[in-house]
Amino acid sequence: MEQRDSRVETTSTSTSSITIHVNGRAMTVERDCPLPRLIENLGLDRRFLVVEYNGEARRREDFDTLVLKEGDRLELVRPVAGG
């Protein structure tokens, strides 16, 4: 197998991609995708984002060290207007 350049991002083959669930919808991302990259790819404003990772609320300080795995379930939540 040809050595893959680690700087190149690819989601083209099944071995290099995983399926996760974001807000109840299945989504394919690259293997070992860090959470900040997912947030960026989704175009979300990170400042006010709240992440529940496999049922557990995660603090913002933890975002950078979180790497996504096959079958992960994420809820991405944010504050909205409410009474």
């Binding site: 006010f48 984002l49 529940e52 603090r59 809820e75 939540v77 944010r78 504050p79 207007a81 009474g83």
Partner: protein, 260 residues
């Protein structure tokens, strides 16, 4: 001088809490918050929709000046309320929560059993809990015993603007409470807010009546005045109500009747 309102470990000088829902724009919400003088505003938590992000509400709230109070709206039971509260805390909001468990979508009435259970779970998890509740004096005592920081009985259903339909029960709750009583929901006019404060409520929470007013900032200012007036009246001690007249003018020293 009116002493400060103490909730949990904090002191507030405004007795008007403002909800952020239903404002026509972020700017109108910002100016209404400012003219209300409020020090606590509520927000909800919802899933992000990458397609429809829009303005971020927190861009319009000066969190240096007001405390963000996340609510658990949408929770149908105690576990869902706990889950939402934990998300808000993880987001860096203070560990304060306006507990709302309203499984019935038509009247949005709080579920007393799940609200009490959620209060116990949240207090055990270190939250300062402000529960929205039916105007039931027994439940108010039970929530107090469970460690609630306030009780927030409803005046009438959320967003209904019907005012204090529960007045008789609110009187008993206020009489018996050892934590602040915040009348929440249904307050549709400044007179309703003033009435709640005259009865001895410690604060009121208003959202719809301000947000959907013709001029939200002006209405927020009107509510602020009403809350202050009602509070001052309560502090001053209202004159008792009587069934019969009691003359304000002397009943002696009348002029003699003139001869026809």
């Amino acid at each position: 001088m009116d002493p400060a309102l103490r909730i949990g470990d904090r002191e507030f000088h405004s007795r008007l809490i403002v909800g952020t829902g239903k404002f026509p724009s972020g700017e109108s919400m910002r100016s209404a918050i400012e003219s209300s003088g409020t020090e606590i505003v509520t927000v909800a938590l919802r899933r992000v929709d990458a397609q429809a992000q829009g303005d971020d509400i927190l861009d319009f709230i000066d969190t240096e000046r007001v405390l963000l109070l996340p609510n658990t709206s949408g929770a149908q039971n105690a576990e869902e309320a706990l889950r939402l509260a934990r998300l808000a805390r993880a987001a860096g909001m203070p560990s304060w929560v306006k507990l709302e468990v309203t499984p019935d979508l038509r009247y949005l009435l709080p579920d007393p059993v799940e609200t009490l259970r959620a209060c116990e779970l949240l207090v055990a998890d270190g939250f300062t809990v402000l529960p929205y509740m039916p105007a039931d004096p027994v439940l108010a005592k039970r929530l107090e015993e469970a460690g609630a920081a306030t009780v927030m009985p409803l005046g009438s259903p959320i967003g209904s603007n019907q005012g204090l339909r529960t007045e008789a029960s609110l009187e008993i709750i206020i009489e018996q409470a050892t934590v602040p009583v915040v009348v929440d929901a249904g307050i549709g006019a400044p007179s309703h807010a003033a009435r709640a404060m005259e009865m001895g409520a410690d604060a009121v929470l208003v959202n719809t009546a301000i947000a959907v007013a013709g001029d939200p900032a002006a209405m927020a200012a009107a509510f602020a005045q009403a809350v202050r007036a009602g509070r001052s009246a309560w502090e001053a001690g209202l004159a008792p109500e009587r069934r019969e007249a009691e003359a304000s003018s002397p009943l002696t020293g009348f002029l003699e009747a003139t001869e026809g």
